[in-house]
Symmetry: C2
Amino acid sequence: MLYIIGLGLGDEKDITVKGLEAIKICNKVYIEAYTSLLSFGISSNGLSTLEEMYGKPLIVADREMVEERSDVIFSEACESNVAFLVVGDPFGATTHTDLVVRAKKEGIEVKVIHNASVMNAVGVCGLQLYRYGETVSIPFFTDTWRPDSFYEKIQKNRSLQLHTLCLLDIRVKEPSLESLARGRKIYEAPKYMTIPTAIEQLLEIEQIRGESAYNEDTACVGLARLGSEDQMVVAGSMRDLLDIDFGAPLHCLVIVGKTHPLEQEMLEFYSLKKGVPEK
Amino acid sequence: MLYIIGLGLGDEKDITVKGLEAIKICNKVYIEAYTSLLSFGISSNGLSTLEEMYGKPLIVADREMVEERSDVIFSEACESNVAFLVVGDPFGATTHTDLVVRAKKEGIEVKVIHNASVMNAVGVCGLQLYRYGETVSIPFFTDTWRPDSFYEKIQKNRSLQLHTLCLLDIRVKEPSLESLARGRKIYEAPKYMTIPTAIEQLLEIEQIRGESAYNEDTACVGLARLGSEDQMVVAGSMRDLLDIDFGAPLHCLVIVGKTHPLEQEMLEFYSLKKGVPEK
């Protein structure tokens, strides 16, 4: 049996009781390392907090391992119980859907244990989840690569008066271009997009396209470390949020559509106009 | 402190370790009764499974209590720790946002403990969450009340090639019209919309509006008891799903937009064409 277990968003205690019980009957426990393990108290020496809680050693699986060497995981899961731990919910990332598809094709029994993910925990800011349109991703711009497919999606959501959740780029264990050119992979330091960087890129594209999808006065909500003890939520215009230090990753951004009175009331708790941003 | 704690979707073991620890330090534990407690092993005698696990008595809070008598909960939360348990995630329903807003206005410290909800667990069918448009609700039609605001929303989602999550009506503790007329509330038996009923209503509205937002051949995914041990997921056309007995509630329905190859591969595991519906 292959258990795909969501860890939730905050810390080691956000796993469900069901997830924890599943880990205890597993012979091998993998943990994905290609989104973010930042909030799980992982030191450079290992995975102490999680391993201590589970009473088991963890095998860190990076994207390469999951995409290229899954046959090892699958053959183990044929003979015994194997856990694959995922930050947030198992179906938050395409990579995990791919893992499930391949496991099922091999005839392996797969059991999913759900948890919170950014896709539903973003509800904490008060904007109702059923009033969101398509989710967009904001990738890091480089000198030569400035993809702007998010622009039209935001434009469509806004024309329908819907909110837009913007997921901000994460670059973990990416081989540097230079090292690829030399034929030997050397990995860049992890890189996480901040809310101000995302807004800069959004405004740059608006300036180029000029179709008034949004502007500096557009209402937004910035959310950092969602679900953690020190999460930070600030509501304000794009201009306002540009100057705010949201601290450590992960960050995400919501572009606000038309709000109902209850949504507006909730946003006001997080509004810059109230003085110090609420935690 | 007021803890708003998500219970997740399946059974009593879907609570997080953090949520369980919070309950243990609370003097009073309320549980919402106005969405669904079906999957939590609650007998007519009480809340045995949950109470046993928590080692505490639970106070069932229906919508009336939460909306009208929250001052009692708030005054308790001023002086001690109070837990308010919610099926799924705390921000899945407007009512809970309203509770948080009112608590914050009273100056009460609120702490939210997230969990899985239908909004992200629906990812299990393989359709990527970022490719969903606005979520719609399908209300029970009556002889005189057949609201169809979902139609235009589905139409817009489909024109953008996005998937649509349809949440199906739940009627718990609704006073009967007859009893209201007599000035004394008598509650109707709980009523949960099935997937076939939702599809019948959808097709009825398509026939009236005739704008080809969808038809009997439109690809859908029906999901019953999402996150439970006996969850059922079936992919097929509206016509196909009309004849399927999905069993006990809760049900929800996804109207499929344009699929990517990975989404298509995943859907095929749940496809009717493969014979017996997979569990």
